[in-house]
């Protein structure tokens, strides 16, 4: 497709009402990179993603390949950034192929019928994500993993340069979570897509992303390669967690350790 774009977040601040949630966030994701935003509950991960997309009011700048998104037309932004939310709304009675075809919206006039190229892109994406057999099935009848693949397919049909994924594995078991993340990784390597995701599972984040940004109290407190960010000290400080970090061949894995004082339980 188009290859990935560089994403820069400069001095981004956002809040709900008067309560600040994000303060002066600065992040850079290189083209083709995968940055996972991690952090404890309520640290502002989803708000950061939604601010980057322009859904949440914020100060500061987001630049895509150096171009600020604030001046961009909505459709142009949609051709560049694709988004899969944590809990996607799956419309009732809509078939998988119709749902995936919605991803073509930014590429054609809103009221126009799909053209040949749109159908081609949709067929290609569904083929790649092995959704062909499910094309005429209603979304509601798909399993959780299949639904997540359909959402990814819709995002890919946008032919984006950056994929923003909010907790893509939130409702999936370990095996399906791995399948989805393997798929994202494959797409990233094949197309050079830039991926920016939130992930609450630290081990998965450490295994798949090439960089992590640890968000705590609305600030980026650590950023770098997984092994640099995932340290027992950081987990204790920001998560209040007791954990060991085991270094595996593809990145660090986080092993939670129960309290030594057994009688207290």
């Amino acid at each position: 497709m188009n290859g990935g774009a560089q994403v820069e977040v400069v001095g981004l601040s956002a809040g709900y009402g008067r309560r600040p949630v994000l303060e002066s966030i600065r992040l850079t994701v290189e083209p083709g990179g995968w940055l996972a935003i991690i952090g404890p509950n309520g640290s502002g991960k989803s708000t950061l993603l939604r601010s980057i997309l322009g859904f949440h009011p914020h100060q500061g700048l987001v630049r895509i390949d150096g171009v600020p998104t604030t001046g961009m037309h909505r459709r142009d932004r949609a051709r560049c950034l694709a988004y899969a939310p944590q809990t996607p709304v799956l419309p009732e009675g809509v078939t998988t192929i119709d749902y995936v075809a919605l991803g073509r919206t930014p590429h054609r006039p809103l009221l126009a019928a799909p053209r040949g190229i749109d159908r081609q892109v949709v067929a290609d994406v569904m083929d790649r994500l092995e959704l062909g057999a499910l094309a005429d099935r209603s979304l509601a009848t798909l399993s959780g993993g299949e639904q997540q693949r359909a959402v990814l397919a819709r995002a890919l049909a946008q032919q984006p340069r950056v994929l923003l994924l909010d907790e893509p594995t939130a409702s999936l078991d370990l095996g399906h979570a791995q399948q989805v993340l393997d798929l994202v990784d494959r797409l990233r390597r094949q197309d050079g897509l830039t991926v920016l995701s939130t992930l609450h599972d630290l081990t998965l984040a450490g295994q798949y992303a090439d960089r992590l940004a640890l968000l705590s109290d609305g600030r980026v407190v650590a950023e770098g390669a997984p092994a640099e960010v995932l340290t027992p000290a950081a987990l204790r400080l920001h998560y209040g967690a007791r954990a060991e970090v085991v270094v595996g061949p593809h990145g660090p894995a986080v092993l939670p350790v129960r309290s030594a004082n057994r009688s207290e339980a």
Binding site: V89, T95, M126
Partner: protein, 358 residues
Amino acid sequence: MTATAGRARSDTAQQAPRRRRPGLVIAGAGLALVVALLAGIWVGALPLPPGAVVGTLFDRLPGVDLSGGLSATQEAVLLQLRLPRVLLAALVGAGLAISGAAYQGVFRNPLADPYLLGAAAGAGLGATLVIAYSPSQSLGPVGVVPLAAFVGALVGVGCALALGTAAGGSHSATLLLAGVAVAAFLAAAQTLVQQQNTDDLREVYGWLLGQLGRAQWSDIALVLPYLVPACLVLLFSGRALDVLAVGDDEASALGVHPGRLRLLVILAASMATAAAVAVSGLIGFVGLVVPHIARRLVGGAHARVLPVSLLLGGGFLVLCDLVARVVLAPAELPIGVVTAFVGAPFFAGLLWVGARRR
């Protein structure tokens, strides 16, 4: 998943272009509407011979000279009573059904109907006010009741939109609650006016239950300029509604303005509803149930649900009006009673069949 991968791939080529026979369903719904229209014209207190009716209608076309063979009385019944009534029923049914489908799409709520945002309560208040207080029956060629109902419906929706927008932007939940508040207030005002004027109770009730018995050509002339553009906008907004169906954030991420789209669709649907309500009173059930029937036939994509709702709604109301005229002839049932009596069991049956098939 991996085991089926090979088969999935080979299926894609055949399945991708295939769709669930929407063209066939649209053609069928159109045919049903035509049949309903003809039945509505033929059947009645004074039966009209089908062949002669068709002949007389063709004779009206410029350049065609065809003697229909209807007596003068029959021709008067056909042209002055039956035809305007049947056409008005089709227009009102079509307008209410497509508006209902649009409202359900915009609010992502299967229980939404065209009266949701205060259109019904506003029209009811307007009609009740003029029935109770207006010194004259008409303003020029147009009756005051349709006029007041039309204005009332638009004012009701306008208040709900203004309140909803002021309270929380264009979020659908806020709009919905604003609609509930406005409808409750206007309904209370309507009840109050009605209680103060018990002499007019019968006429008010007759209007509230819906009626097509006094349909005239002027009614059709009254609704067409509002109904046609509104329905055209709605027919074209199907794809936009499909995008809205995935939620506001995702719709934004797909490059559209959910708030603006929602407003446009609500305005068009409310215009159609106001026009329908003005000439027919409050006919329930059509706007709620016909879209669901359409969805059963063609799936959830609005680009297909909207036109099918339009056609089915028109045919459904023509048939209900037929039943309303015939069952207790020469007396007439209120059409709102018939739509519920005919529609509710039919819909229940549809739900039952759907549940068993699943």
